[in-house]
C-alpha cells in the first residue's frame, strides 16, 4: 500500500497536464472522467487500507495493471485490492469482487468458472495458474496476480493469445483417416486401451499456461510448444487414424521447431491445470520419431 500512494499522485498530475489540451468535447469529458477515476481510486485505496486494518479476514491482492491507451496505466504498475475473504474463494472470485466493487476497469478473461474454458490462465504468485481453479486460501499473501509471462500484454491481465492459437493450429489439429466403416451409422472401432492412451491428451483446454512456462518456447518463437505437440500426440496415437496418417503426423512434429526443441524442463507438466503429462507425451513422440527414422539409416 504505502509504496502505491506516491505513485498514484504522480499519475493524477500527469492526467491533468494531459487534459489541458483536449482534442474534442468527448475527449474533454473523458479526460475529466479519468481524472476523477484517479481520484476515486486514490480514495478507495485509502479507505480500503483502513478497512483492511480493521478487518482481519481480507485478502490482499496485488494486481498488474497496464493499458496502452489510458495515461495513468501506460507505465505498468501494481494496484492493491483488499477483498473480503469467503470460504472456498478462488483467485478468480477475488478478482471479480475487486472489479465489481472497486474498479470496473480491472480487466481479465474469464467465463466458465470451472476450469473448462481455459480463459483465465494467469501468473499467480510466480506460477502459471488457472485463476478459477486456484483457492485463495492456498496462496501466500499478498497474492500477486500478473498476466502470463512470455506473451504480449494486451491490457491488465489479458495477453495476446494469437501466437498460441497459431501454434495449436499448425499441427493439423483435426482427425484424418483414409478408411471409414461402410455403414452410414457404423462407428469406427476403437479399443478401450487406445482411448485410454489418448484420454489425457484430449483434455487440453488451450489455456496456454504450459507454453508460458516453457523457457524454450520463450526463446524460440517458432517452437511448437507443449500444448501443440500434445495436440499432435492426441492424433498420432489415435489408432483410428491408421498408419499412413501417423507417418504424416510424425513428420509434422519432427520439423526443426518441433519435438526436438523440448529440453525436458517439465515446467509445462507442472503447471498444466488438466494434469496432462506433457513432457511424457513429448518424449514418447521423440522416441516414435527416432524409431521411425532409424529404419532409413
Amino acid at each position: 500500500m504505502s509504496t502505491q500512494i506516491p505513485k498514484q499522485t504522480e499519475e493524477s498530475t500527469e492526467t491533468e497536464s494531459e487534459a489541458a489540451e483536449p482534442a474534442s468535447k468527448g475527449e474533454e469529458r473523458r479526460a475529466e472522467k479519468r481524472r476523477r477515476a484517479a481520484e476515486r481510486r486514490e480514495q478507495r485505496q485509502e479507505e480500503e487500507a483502513e478497512k483492511a486494518a480493521a478487518d482481519e479476514s481480507t485478502v490482499e491482492l496485488k494486481v498488474f495493471r497496464y493499458d496502452p491507451q489510458v495515461e495513468g496505466k501506460q507505465e505498468p504498475r501494481f494496484d492493491t485490492f483488499h477483498v473480503p475473504f469467503t470460504k472456498g474463494m478462488t483467485v478468480l472470485d477475488a478478482l471479480m469482487y475487486a472489479r465489481d466493487t472497486y474498479d470496473s476497469s480491472l480487466t481479465f478473461r474469464h467465463s466458465c468458472r470451472q476450469a473448462v474454458c481455459g480463459s483465465d490462465a494467469m501468473f499467480v504468485n510466480g506460477g502459471q495458474k488457472l485463476a478459477c481453479k486456484t483457492q485463495i486460501s492456498e496462496m501466500e499473501e499478498p497474492v500477486r496476480v500478473e498476466p502470463l509471462p512470455h506473451a504480449e500484454v494486451t491490457k491488465d491481465l489479458v495477453v495476446d493469445m494469437e501466437h498460441f492459437y497459431d501454434q495449436m493450429e499448425a499441427v493439423e489439429p483435426y482427425f484424418q483417416t483414409n478408411e471409414f466403416p461402410d455403414g452410414e451409422l457404423e462407428e469406427q472401432r476403437q479399443d478401450r486401451e487406445n482411448r485410454e492412451k489418448i484420454k489425457m491428451s484430449t483434455r487440453c483446454i488451450w489455456c496456454g499456461a504450459c507454453m508460458s512456462s516453457c523457457n524454450i518456447a520463450a526463446g524460440d518463437n517458432e517452437y511448437l510448444g507443449p500444448a501443440a505437440i500434445n495436440k499432435a500426440y492426441r492424433f498420432a496415437m489415435d489408432e483410428r487414424e491408421g498408419e499412413e496418417i501417423k507417418q504424416k503426423r510424425l513428420e509434422i512434429i519432427e520439423q526443426e521447431h518441433g519435438v526436438w526443441r523440448c529440453q525436458t524442463q517439465f515446467s509445462c507438466t507442472e503447471v498444466c491445470p488438466k494434469d496432462i503429462p506433457l513432457t511424457e507425451h513429448i518424449q514418447e513422440l521423440k522416441r516414435e520419431a527416432v524409431k521411425n527414422n532409424l529404419k532409413f539409416w
Partner: protein, 123 residues
C-alpha cells in the same frame, strides 16, 4: 507460422546423436577421470607417462574417439542452445560454420598431440 512446414529437417538425427554420444561419453569420461586423477595422480603427469599409454593402439583410438565424440557433443550442444534461444538467419549460418571450423581445429590439434605421443609421424 500457421502454414505447414514441408521440408523434413534432420533435427531428429542430431538429437539422437547427442544422446548416443552422451552414453559413450558417460563411460569414457568416467574412465578418463578415474585414470588420470585417481589411478594416476595429477602431480604425477608427465610426457613419458602419456607417451606410454598412447603407444597402445587401443588407448590411442579410444582417446581419439573420445575427442571426436566430446567435440561433437559439446559443440552440437552449444549450437542447439543458441538455436533454442532463437538464433536464426545469416547469423545462425555464420555461427554454425564457425563452430564447425572450431571443432575441426580442435580435433586436428588433439590428434596431432596424440600422434606426438604415440610416435606417429604426423604432427
Amino acid at each position: 507460422m500457421a502454414e505447414r512446414y514441408s521440408s523434413f529437417q534432420k533435427g531428429g538425427r542430431m538429437w539422437f546423436l547427442q544422446r548416443v554420444t552422451a552414453v559413450f561419453l558417460l563411460v569414457v569420461l568416467a574412465f578418463h577421470f578415474f585414470l588420470l586423477h585417481f589411478v594416476h595422480h595429477a602431480d604425477e603427469v608427465s610426457f613419458l607417462a602419456s607417451q606410454g599409454r598412447m603407444e597402445s593402439l587401443s588407448y590411442y583410438s579410444l582417446m581419439v574417439t573420445f575427442l571426436v565424440t566430446a567435440t561433437f557433443h559439446g559443440v552440437n550442444g552449444v549450437y542447439n542452445a543458441l538455436v533454442n534461444q532463437g538464433l536464426t538467419g545469416t547469423k545462425r549460418t555464420v555461427i554454425k560454420w564457425t563452430l564447425v571450423a572450431a571443432s575441426v581445429v580442435l580435433i586436428a590439434q588433439g590428434i596431432r598431440t596424440a600422434n606426438a605421443w604415440a610416435g606417429i609421424g604426423l604432427y
